[in-house]
Amino acid sequence: MTDANINIAEPVYDLKTITSVSPILESTPWLKNSTPRSQALFELFKVSDTKSEWPLVVHLINNFTYVNEDLFNESKQKIAERIVSWIKSNNVYYIVAMSDEDEADGSQSLLQSLKNAEPFNGVFDEDDFINSITAGVKKIEADMPFNQRRNIVLIDDFIGTGKTIKRKIEWLDKALTKMGVREKVGIRLCALAYMSNSQQVISYLMDEQKLLNDFFSPIVVNRGISDHFNEPELSQNMELMKSLESGLAEKVARVRGKALNLKDHNFGYNKSEAIYSWADNNLPNNVFPIFWWALDKNNKKRKTIFRRI
């Protein structure tokens, strides 16, 4: 066998690295099934070990919600069943991706997958699935005037802080009010996964503002540190994460858009502390940046477990 035939892993790791990383690699299928991801894990060990942060990284990975194909199919089924349970015979329902009009995103990906969910068989037509919230409003507008009550079921792949859904639902409410049909349109929300602390925003939209009729999500994601530790471990782990993040570049340039600032993403966007990924889909910015931030503090490219554009 020649060297050319051997799949070369660079670099070769020392014994301590192998003995420290292999237990978590062995127990985590989404890491061990991918050579680039496992190499990124070894790199993460190298930067965290010197500062004793490795146990925190192991804790985060052990509690990480990784939506693989099986979990996705199971969740998709639950979402579709819930939507069907909401249906009333004399109403019209539209399943609408939470996406802005011109941006491809995870909500559209989820919507597309939902189309052929078994519980929807014979319940919806292709036209009932709409790939942006603005197109959903246009659809309602095109239906006017109508007597049968309309229902918009908003679909999102992940709810982080809840700020985005609040903004979009308030926008939708205003748009429908302006059209004079708000009383005749119900708004419901389904997400593949949501952060536990976004529940406050959802409750506010449902119970206080009465903008949202129902909400359902089969997967709840707890905050990686705050929801797992009590004092004094909580403060200690917060400090360890700050120390880990101090090894990242303060800014990362994007291809054309504005550069990303680390200070906006410390502990994840809006300090969300998310530990969640839906397979290989674009990672939410709510996830701790140590898992996806592209550059280290010397502006050298990092091998990262996940990627995000």
Binding site: I6, L15, V21
Partner: protein, 106 residues
Amino acid sequence: MAFQITKRIILSELFKSEAGVNLYNLHRKYRLPFNEVILVLDELKSLELVVIEDLMIFPTRRTKEWIYLNRSSIFFAKNNCEWKDIPQEFLTEKLGINVVPALKTK
């Protein structure tokens, strides 16, 4: 194919060894991606072909016999490139030597 190479190396070292194989030495000597080492060991464990103690692996009673019986599929299997095979429904009649296909006319 890369996974297959890792498997070949591990099995060939197991076949040669009497006192077990050190996984770290294997990783260093052959530069094997460690996740692939773990995946191969998962498979060998399920087949009861290996016993793992820390970073050492040991053959079981049936390991050598199993490797010997399966040697052709393990060590001599070629990458079949199944993607290169054209499905039957897309094949047409082969042209003969020095035959120029007739042009289609309306």
